[in-house]
């Protein structure tokens, strides 16, 4: 499976609210961050949750967000970050 993103790429998390078992938390939807690393391909947990085989596998990324970009009134340091593991189908180029 080819990776659509590489470390350092800017990505935007889809701002969407599909029903069902989703592994992308609400607080990070719509936010822009950078790919920190490509974690590999895994069976899609959003399908596995319902007894499907989760195939084809989906590429998982670790995405790093600046806390200041995630929370409007973040009180910590400029350099503080939150890393979230997100599947490719949740990411758009930014």
């Amino acid at each position: 499976m080819s990776n659509n993103f590489a470390p350092g790429d800017s990505v935007k998390v889809r701002q969407t609210h599909p029903p069902g078992h989703r592994r992308t938390p609400y607080y990070i939807r719509g936010k822009v961050g950078q790919i920190e690393r490509v974690c590999g391909d895994f069976p899609n947990p959003e399908e596995l949750a319902y007894g499907f085989d989760g195939l084809p596998k989906k590429t998982l990324y670790r995405v790093r967000f600046r806390q200041k970009d995630v929370w409007e009134n973040y009180s910590g340091a400029e350099t503080d970050t939150v890393d979230v593991d997100i599947y490719e189908h949740w990411l758009l180029p930014a």
Binding site: R23, G40, F42, A77, D80, V82, D83, D85, I86
Partner: protein, 216 residues
Amino acid sequence: MAEERGAHEHNHDHDHDLTFQPNIEDSEPGLYELMTYAIRELLIEKDHLTPEELRLAQEKVESLERSDGSKVIAKAWSDPDYKQRLLDDGNAALAELGIDAGAAKMTVVENTEKVQNVVVCTLCSCYPRAVLGMPPDWYRSKSYRSRVVIEPREVLKEFGTVLPEGKTVRVHDSLADLRYLVIPQRPEGTDDWNEEQLAAIVTRDTMVGVTNPSVS
């Protein structure tokens, strides 16, 4: 009050009003708990699993201990090459010590002078059980899960960990298939310690990143 409680003879079989230990089975089971019981019973009834197999699996999970994690960190502190392997490929480096991290991708992050790493699972309670055993109650609490991602410095303060302004806090939200292990900073004054001595100061909470090891 305490004196009054202790004042009478302690030869009766009693509860003082109420004990402080909540009885976990006192509340009515919720819908999902009932569904879990139903599925359990069906699996047994249809001969997919025996009660003994279920019990054994539960016992195995609950008997995993954080001491494995402490050994891993002590080795990483003592052997820079091993630390690098751990950072590069957590699962392979853990396997060297006979630890099977399973299908989850073990992602090891290192605390430094400049960076403090903190682990959370905001959705549930994903936790590196293979190396740390069962997560503590606070890790599963809604309060920790919702707050540490928004105000990590304040939450760490409540754990007694005050971070200097200039230090970067990296929160790791472990949501899908990654599991995180933090390599804490090796404290000063431990240069001549062996791995066993080092492992003794690597407590569970230091490997989640809410506190740092110290030499008392």
